[in-house]
Symmetry: C2
Subunit: 333 residues, 2 copies
C-alpha cells in the first residue's frame, strides 16, 4: 500500500517536519534544472522524477547538511544533483533490464522505447556535472565524479554476474556496495563537506550512507521474492526473470537439494522456466530460510549504519537518520 498522509510511516512524517521545506526547494530545483529547449527532455525526465520515489538520496544530503546546522542554499542544489544522477541510472537500468514498470507506472522505455531514455540519461549525467562546476567546490565534484565511476563499474559487474550461480555472497555484496550504496555514501557525505566538518565526522556519515544503502538494496532484493506487485511498485520476480543472482537465491541455492539446484540452474543459468517457476522460486526461498537470512543480513547492515551515528551531534536529524536505517529494513515497499 502506498503511503498517504493517514498511514504515513513515522519516519516519513518526521522527515516532513524536519526537512519538508528543503525537500520542496529541492523539487523546485529539479524541475527548473530539467528544463531544456528540447521538449522531450523535461517531458521524459518529469515522467520518472514526478512519479514519486522516496527521494531517499536527496533526503540524506538535506539531513546531513542540517545535522550540523547548515543554513545556506547549496544543500538543495546538491540534493537535486544527487537525484539527477540517481534518475540517470534508473533510466539506463530500466533499458538494460527491459523493465516495464517502476514506481507503479510504466517505465520511460516502455513509453518512449529504449533510445530516448539512454540519451536523456546521458543528459542528466552531463547536466549534473554542469551544475556542480557552476556551483560546487572541487571536493563535492570529486565525490560525485568518483561515485559515478564506481556506480557504473558496479553495474557492469552485476551484468557480468547475471545468470552465474557461482556468484558468492561476497561478490554480490560488492556489487550492491558499488551500484547502489555508493550514491548513498556520497549523498550523506556531502552534508559534512558543505559544513567543513572533521574527517572523522565526514567518514562516519559516508559509512552510514554506505551501510544504509547496502541494507536498502538487500531488502529490495528480498522484496523481489516476497512483496506484492502493488506494494513493490514494480513486478515481483523481475530479478528472477532477468537471471539476477541476488542474496535470497545465493542462499537458497547453497542450501538446496540437488533437485532444487537443478531447478535454479534451469531458470537462472539456462533461462528455461518450467510452468509455475516463479511460484516455486518464492516457495523455495521461503522454505530454505533464505528470505529470513537475507532480511537478517540487511538488519545487521542497518544496525551498523546506526552505530556510525554515535560520534555525530545528537540532533533531531541524527535521530531521523537512525529511524531511516530501521525503516530501510522494516519497509514493505
Amino acid at each position: 500500500m502506498k503511503p498517504t498522509p493517514a498511514n504515513l510511516p513515522p519516519v516519513l512524517k518526521r522527515l516532513g517536519e524536519l526537512i519538508g521545506p528543503d525537500l520542496e526547494r529541492t523539487n523546485a530545483i529539479i524541475l527548473e534544472q530539467l528544463n531544456s529547449q528540447v521538449e522531450l527532455i523535461p517531458k521524459l525526465g518529469a515522467h520518472i522524477i514526478e512519479s514519486g520515489g522516496k527521494r531517499l538520496r536527496p533526503v540524506l544530503t538535506l539531513l546531513s547538511a542540517k545535522l550540523f546546522g547548515y543554513t545556506g542554499r547549496d544543500d538543495a542544489l546538491l540534493a537535486a544533483v544527487v537525484e539527477f544522477i540517481h534518475t540517470a541510472t534508473l533510466l539506463h537500468d530500466d533499458v538494460v533490464d527491459r523493465s516495464d514498470t517502476r514506481r507503479g507506472r510504466a517505465t520511460a522505455n516502455s513509453v518512449w522505447g529504449s533510445k530516448a531514455p539512454i540519451l536523456v540519461g546521458d543528459y542528466l549525467f552531463s547536466r549534473s556535472f554542469q551544475i556542480l562546476v557552476a556551483h560546487a567546490d572541487l571536493n563535492v565534484l570529486r565525490i560525485i565524479a568518483d561515485a559515478c565511476a564506481v556506480i557504473s563499474e558496479g553495474e557492469v559487474m552485476q551484468l557480468v554476474a547475471t545468470n552465474d550461480l557461482t556468484t558468492t555472497e561476497e561478490h554480490y555484496l560488492e556489487v550492491v556496495r558499488r551500484k547502489t550504496a555508493t550514491l548513498f555514501t556520497a549523498a550523506a557525505q556531502i552534508g559534512a563537506v558543505l559544513n567543513h566538518r572533521s574527517r572523522a565526522e565526514e567518514s562516519a556519515l559516508a559509512e552510514y550512507g554506505t551501510l544504509l544503502g547496502i541494507a536498502y538494496q538487500v531488502v529490495d532484493d528480498a522484496l523481489d521474492y516476497s512483496a506484492s506487485n502493488e506494494a513493490l511498485g514494480k513486478n515481483v520476480g523481475d530479478d528472477f526473470q532477468e537471471g539476477k543472482i541476488t542474496l535470497p537465491v545465493i542462499h537458497a541455492y547453497r542450501h538446496g537439494t540437488p533437485e532444487e539446484r537443478a531447478f535454479w540452474s534451469d531458470c537462472l543459468e539456462k533461462r528455461e522456466f518450467p510452468e509455475g517457476a516463479l511460484q516455486r522460486a518464492i516457495q523455495l526461498v521461503r522454505e530454505r530460510g533464505s528470505l529470513d537470512y537475507t532480511l537478517a543480513r540487511a538488519k545487521t547492515f542497518a544496525d551498523e549504519a546506526k552505530a556510525q551515528l554515535a560520534i555525530l551531534p545528537d540532533t533531531p536529524e541524527r535521530e531521523a537518520m537512525a529511524m531511516l536505517a530501521d525503516f530501510s529494513v522494516a519497509r514493505s515497499y
Copy 2:
C-alpha cells in the same frame, strides 16, 4: 581504401611529424585510464578505441596546445579525456541506432549486446570527469561539462527529428552543431585555455573547431549516400535505413517531383522500403544535385573554419589545422 603508410593523405603524414609522439602519449594514457578491476570495461573499451578511428578530436587538442608552444603534459591527458567522451557517445549511438559495423569492424553492441555498451559508456563519461577533477582546472571542466550537456541535447533533437521530412536545413544544422561539432569546439578550445591565451584567440579556436566539426559531419552524411562500405567503415545507407533526415535527403526531397517525395515519405516516414530503395535513394540524391549541394555546403563551413585561423600565430600547427579543414571535405572515408 584505408590509409597505409604508402598512401597516407598528406595531412595525416604532416600530423605524424608534428604531434606523433604526443598522440602516442595520448594513446598510452587512454589505455592506462581505461583500466578497471572489472575486466569487461577495458576489454569493451579497447575493442572500440583500438579499432582506429581518426583520433580527430584529440588531434585538435594536441595541435591547438602546441600552436602556442605548450610544453606541459596535460595536453595528452585532456586529449585522452576528449577521446573518452567521444567513445562514450559512439557506444551509446550504436546502441540507439542498432548499428552493426563501425570503423570496419563489428560494433560493441553486436558483439556484447546492447547492455554492456550502455554501462561502459556511462563508465567512460564518469571516468572522464574523474580525470578532469583530479587534473584539470575549472575552466576545462566547465568546457567539457557544457559540451556533454549540449551533445546529449543534440542527440535527443536528432532522435525527435527522425522520420520527419519536415525537418529544415536549419534544424538539421543545429543538430549537427550540437551532437557532433560541440566536441570539436571543446577539443580545439582547450589548447588555448591550457596556454592562458586571450579571449579572442580562444574564441577563434573554438569557432574553428565548431565549423570543422560541422563540415566533417555534413560530409559524413553525404558519404552515407555515396561511399563504398569498405571506404566508409560502416554500412552505406545506414542513415537511410534508420530514417535519419540528413542534408542530402532534405535537399532531394525539397527538389523532388511529387512521385519522388512519395518515395522519400514511404521510406523515411512510413518505413516501407520498396525493392531497390537504397539504390533509388542514392540515384535521386545524385540526380537532384543533392550530393553536390551537400558537399558545397560542407566546403563553405571548412573555408569558414580556415578563416578563423587568421588571428592565430603562423605556425606549422596552424597550417596543419588548415589542411585538416580541407581534408574534412576532400576525404572519401
